[in-house]
């Protein structure tokens, strides 16, 4: 057997790295563009900008949910209810904090529990009732937000912590200082770099899910269901169960994101918070190289996808000439161009190779 007897060729190795880790290259490229725009604005790109990217809502909150979204997309489904679930769960989280006089454990359990329930509702309808995920989560997207909206108006301000149609953490609880100042917005200073604590949480979650998806049997079954559900079933995998489980896991991640939202922002406004977060999550997933057709994609990619998406936002916001109204246009454009490069790249490469071969072939 001549296993791996081939000599390593540098350009081939690079090509392989590119195709395997293109999301890292994409992130570095976007980061360079960011640095250039900052310098063009007359400022200096410094470590503060990096910690800005790491602590942004788009990284930690959307990024955490995007990991779940990636698992759902890998099984060939979609979840449009993420933004609404986040609002609902953050509401539950904050209310349980306020109602228990600042009990952190109850708050955390409320966050995870409400997230799990939201996810399970989606999952059971998709997995066991066999409804299309797009429709189910479109429905729950409307339901979750509207429920939260109607509750926040009716509820006692002593529980919501605010009189203006939002849920807000009451600041005179003993644990408030710790949750908001230390955990939510605080950071660890390493030399000249400040790393927010919640970024460590995000990294830890990412590492856990990298392990789950690549080193456990459950992870492989998620990929198998997305790649060929029929085969997955014939090898004894409980396909419906796997589908339910990815929604449930995503629900738990929404719970974690709600906890972060509560600690980092301190409040949530059902009418406006978290709108389009499901779309941002999909953007991060796709920027991370996960196939929308299912079966393929890496959690590490989603991590970098979330960073890339945040950085793209920062670039657009940092260009003074762009009015806030037009910013979404540029966000959309950048997204389309990046994906075009990822999908059209291999096709163009193939064309070039075949043209080259044709030129090499002897002419008669």
């Amino acid at each position: 057997m001549t296993r791996k007897a081939n000599k390593i060729q540098p350009h081939k190795l690079l090509a392989e790295c590119w195709s395997k880790y293109s999301y890292i290259f994409v992130f570095v490229l976007i980061l360079i563009v960011y640095a250039i725009t900052i310098n063009a604005n007359g400022n200096h790109f410094n470590p503060g900008h990096i910690s800005g990217i790491l602590s942004s809502q788009n990284t930690v909150i959307v990024g955490t949910m995007a990991i779940g979204m990636a698992m759902i997309i890998i099984t060939g489904q979609i979840d449009l209810s993420l933004g609404s679930s986040l609002v609902l769960c953050t509401g539950v989280t904050i209310v349980s904090y306020n109602a228990t006089g600042g009990n952190v454990l109850v708050m955390l359990l409320a966050a995870l529990g409400s997230g799990l329930i939201c996810g399970l509702i989606n999952g059971v309808l998709v997995g066991y009732a066999k409804m299309p995920a797009f429709i189910v989560t479109l429905g729950t997207m409307l339901i979750y937000r509207s429920l939260t909206l109607s509750v926040v108006r009716e509820m006692d301000p002593a529980l919501t912590g605010s009189s203006s149609s939002q849920f807000s953490m009451i600041s005179d609880m003993p644990s408030y200082e710790f949750l908001r100042m230390r955990f939510g917005t605080g950071s660890l200073r390493l030399g000249s770099i400040q790393i927010p604590y919640i970024s460590f949480l995000f990294v830890a979650i990412t590492l856990f899910f990298i392990f789950l998806m690549s080193n456990t049997k459950y992870g492989k079954s998620v990929y198998a269901v997305g790649s060929n559900a029929k085969t997955a079933r014939l090898t004894g995998i409980n396909v419906e169960g796997v589908k339910v489980s990815v929604f449930a896991v995503t629900g738990l991640l929404v719970g974690v994101a709600s906890f972060i939202q509560a600690c980092k922002i301190g409040n949530v406004t059902p009418a406006s918070s978290g709108t389009s977060y499901e779309m941002y999550a999909i953007a991060a997933v796709v920027l991370g190289g996960v196939s929308m057709a299912g079966g393929r994609g890496k959690i590490l990619g989603v991590f970098f996808g979330a960073l890339s998406y945040t950085t793209i936002n920062f670039i657009i916001v940092s260009i003074p000439a762009l009015s806030p109204d037009i910013q979404n246009t540029f966000q959309g454009l950048v997204l389309i161009v990046v994906i075009l490069v990822q999908t059209a790249g291999p096709v163009i490469k193939e064309k070039i190779i075949s043209l080259r071969q044709r030129a090499k072939a002897p002419k008669q």
Partner: protein, 501 residues
Amino acid sequence: MNTMLQMWGISKSFGGVHALTDVHLDVEKGEIHALLGENGAGKSTLMNILTGVVPLDEGHIEFDGKVYTYPTIRQMEDAGIAFVHQELSVINDLTVYENIFLNREIRNKWHVLEKKQMIDQTRELFQRLGVDMDPMTMVSELKTSEKQLLEICRALHANAKLLILDEPTTALSNEEISHLFEILKKMKAEGTSFIFISHKMPEIFAIADRYTVFRNGRFISSGLIRDTDSRRLTSDMIGQEYADKDVYHTRTLGDVVLELKDFTGHGFRDVNLRVQKGEIVAFTGLAGSGASEVLQTMFGVLPIVSGSVEVHGKSISGNISRFMEHRMAMLPSNRKENSVIPDMTIQENFQIAEHTLSRRKPVIHQKKEAAAFERLHTMLRIKSDDPQDPINSLSGGNQQKIFLARWLNTDADILIFDNPTQGVDVGAKAEIYQLILQFAQEGKTVIINTLEIPEIKKVSDRCVVFYDGAVAKIFNHDEITEQSVMMYSTNAVAEARKSEA
């Protein structure tokens, strides 16, 4: 006779690997030319060159009197070459005539479709070929065999002068095959040429006029079919004297390990069968006879309607993992649809079934799995370089061996194989049957479903013939002959009795 197609001096390499080295192929007008060779012999590459899908490195192509140096897909289509692929490419959501006229619709000057004209033309075409099909039917309602015919009709309607048929009979029953062959003969008489790719020897001898054999990308032999025999063709294909001897030998069988009692499910009823440890039982029957459905129901894929399946005296029902826990395994038919996980590596594809059984230990032990793969890799003589390569980098036969390994790795002792040699080349086929015998020798119980009666004769202790959802006859090894099995699977026996009465 005049020559329709001449290809000579054709060479092609992919990144340093020679797929074809100086091969040639001639096809005459109005002949059926069998192109033979194992998977990976270069047949597909040559056909892809001929249809302009893959550019050639060196060589000449002359078709219908014109020389093509750099054929493109468009050019070859216009010249009259049509490729009828193994995977059907008709569109299910359109009607029969819409498929025939796809991309060539007749329109009036307002660009509105002339439906009546198209329907009439389709009818005419069907009449000419003796095809019994309504142009207005939705394709989704057609049987697989009818779809295959439709695809051939579509190529003919486009005035194809040369049709490439890539294993056109895999999904067809014997009756349908003979119908297809009648149509081919009719078209041949009208001057259409065919390149016929098949692994089934009886068909080649039934339909082809001449043959060309490739091996490892090289031309080996060609000639008239009537001047050769299947033994010679096979040895040309696999390169050594293919011993067609009876490898079967009697073994002492153990206790009854599997019993079907009044077993009834979707597509079959009242099946009673006792299988002993170490026995090889072959199921056979035409498409729709219920043989495959029995196997699927025995493994929890389809629901049991009534009756029971007992393993070691214990009645089992439920989902697939329940049956796997009772040490059963099933290699399903239709490899591409039911076995391949296309986005996964060879190693991952191999391991996936065992994961179901060991799911109580959730973390993957890489080293252990690599060792398990290595062991079966050697035992099954799988040709692959790196287990981390994608599964689709392997040829059909080697993929099938990976899936065989996938199930052996679950330590099952009742092995169910549904059509295990479908789309597998002669060499790998022989190896697979050899392995089946070896498993039985080791005390495993094997049930296979296949349509290839010679193969049944080679390995099985008993042969269960299904007709119309019921057991028509059970033969012991010595009683199995092609003729008798065919008689029962086509229900010719009952017909004969009826006419006697």
